[in-house]
Amino acid sequence: MVHDVAIIGAGVVGCAMARRFARAGARVLLLERGADILSGASKANSAILHTGFDAPPDSLELRCMQAGYQEYLTIRHAMNLPLLDTTALVLAWSETEAARLPDILAQAHRNGVADARALTRAEVLAREPRLAASVHAGLLIPGEAVIDPWSAPLAYATEALRHGATLCFGATVQAASFDGAAWLIDTTRGRFGARLVINCAGTHGDHIEALFLGRSHFTIRPRKGQFVIYDKAAAALLGAIVLPVPDDRTKGVVLTRTIFGNLLVGPTAEDQPDRDRATVDPEALTALMQRAETMIPALKNMPVTAVYAGLRPASDAKHYRIHAEPGRGFITVGGIRSTGLTAALGIAAHVFDLCALPDTAPPPQPPPMMPNLAEHLPRDWQHPGYGEIVCHCELVTRREIEAALHADLPPGDFGGLRRRTRCAMGRCQGFGCHARLAELTAGHLTPPLALPRERRNG
């Protein structure tokens, strides 16, 4: 069967893309080399829904972010996707930084974020009394918010699935040829045909483009970001997302609550050649924690719940690399470095418009309702009949685990189960629940978490 569209990469952009095209009636194939969605860059980010206040003015990135932001707000209720209405503060910690705030504010206004406004030091401290008194001044960006970085793309992919999309995991693209009408794509999971290929391959986007077109318009320069997640007790220390005055390379180190009730600090910005290997190192993590403690002194001695590292698919230029190859049915969506979660729905709409495909929408399917994992909303354990609590740190129930394992799009690996339920994501990181999870997931995860020991005598 020749698909209308093959999307390469089931990160947040690929999932949103699959949803957009499938909803329009296209026969969509989503190819992913990992065992689950979000196996690459999209699994590690700061989970912020950005207004675009500091995006390059008049850029495609800004348009996609703002369109994505609006669409998220529009669809989130029907899909039960949470939003933690935090606001953000851009904080200056020196006179030099404070001197740059007016320009940032002007840019925010130019970008249509009309409600952004300047705050004095006293106003900042009145809003956030646990911040260090050494803060100089700030900007308030009321529209910035925190979302669930994993449930949202899972909802997009699930909706694509319900509209007939095919999801194929473990499918690494090996070769491709264009016969003038359609692409033949050879993967580790077999050969597929598609009239249009959309390259959403993240940190491998340039490789995929070269594989299809013989050359690439851009080069991915992976940028590693390390994060520290503090214990839930820390979330009470902060209301707003705290952003630094950005430099021209990155958005800088963010301090924010997470939707799951923790406090996050990160990311670092470390350029590296390796596309897949994202390591944490104690020096960088310690430096992040020191930075966080400088901003909120009460974080000293706060336990660390988790650390992680992700690779942002930065490219050799700062802007998004969205490029349609004329006459060959190939579109690259590359260089979506740090705003992909916000912009994904907007990018999908933009690319759909680029393709000028007929919008032969099938009868609408009900949107998938995602289970709530947000700490500020009622969780499953608050409802009777859950059986048992399996993960005590994150209060994940057996009912939730079983629902995830039997969902339309079940987890392809343990990481996928963790992202779908929060199990083993808490302060003990599996000390208390690993064995029970191994039992409950037996037969569902390949390879399994653990195998019964072979009996010695047959």
Partner: protein, 419 residues
Amino acid sequence: MDSLPPVDLLIIGAGPAGLGAAATAAAAGLSVVVLDRATVAGGMPRLCGHSPFGMREFHRIMGGRAYAARLVATAERAGARILANHSAVQITAAGVHVATPDGVRCMAYRRLLLATGLREASRAARLLPGERPMRGILTTGALQGLAYGPGAGSGGLVPFQRPVVLGSELVAASALLTLRHLGIRPLALIEAGAHPVARWPVGLLPRLMGVPCHLNTRIIDIHGRDQVQAVALRHANGSVQRIDCDGLLLTGAFTPDSSLARMAGLRIDPASQGPEIDSFGRCSQPGIYAAGNVLRGVETAGWAWAEGQRTARAILRDLAGDLPPADTGLRIATTGPLRLCLPQNVIPGARHAAHPQLQLRVTRHVHGRLVLRDATGAELWSRRLTGWPERRILIAPARIPTLPSGETAILSITEQATR
């Protein structure tokens, strides 16, 4: 939310400390409810397939599971009600919010005892470097659950075949025995320090089991995305070694499971990471006590059980109006290689205290004088001290001079030059 009538003593955690307290308090006539979040009560010993347990409590050598069952039976026979699969989620002024499979309840109490125990520090909390493979990095507690937990079956569940073991505290012996039970042969045991932390049997056990033991060695990298593939080690002489393996077993580095206390706003000792207590086990909010391993790193089950019993006796005196006022003691803060001092608040001249001695821990081997100074730096008291990390150090506080109550004194160690 349903609210239940108050009980005299509500205990969170049905491990040795909670059950010891429950047995004592119930035998004295209090109404006692013990909550445990696990589906089976008994605490950590439940997951220890090996001996020895029970020597202090029952004067016989028992396996962990039989010992845990005996603790549960003893508390129940005394009249305590033990509710497994009941998760305390929040401590409020009205009571403890408890998640049960039948809905959330608010359970009121006259006195509350936190006996929530401990956990081993995770890979994240240890800030270990490298990749974060989805499978293969486990703590001893997780491994014991696979080997001896309710779903383990007769032979246990096996997460890896060729792990590297990190740490040489006493629990490393339990880890090695559990590995042997599962038929797993570890490739190496790594300890960052110059000596095995535990005296016996850990110092000997790796050799007996044929496991290479690397002292003065640190993990500098972990390889693997899905499953652990290798760890890179740096030895004392600076050389780097890569060991191809499929697992990393993290042992020890215990930390109190004090999140309920922390979220409730109880004062947490930055040194122990557990709730601060006074000589009677009282926390910083009225009516709330803590006992067992939530107070510190790890102690033995027998120790936690006895501590729970002593704390229950303090609670009985409290309910009879027979305890000196709280917050009247000498607060002790620790510095340097002292890792913790329990209790943090010493009530002068306290008779029949739950904590009749000071419990100290050091972060490394020390040899010198233990010195207590007041806020001005003047020496109040000192004595000789030799200590090893993670080993029990007990000081009789009777010799410590009383200070005006409410003062904070600093306990430190002045080391002698090593030979």
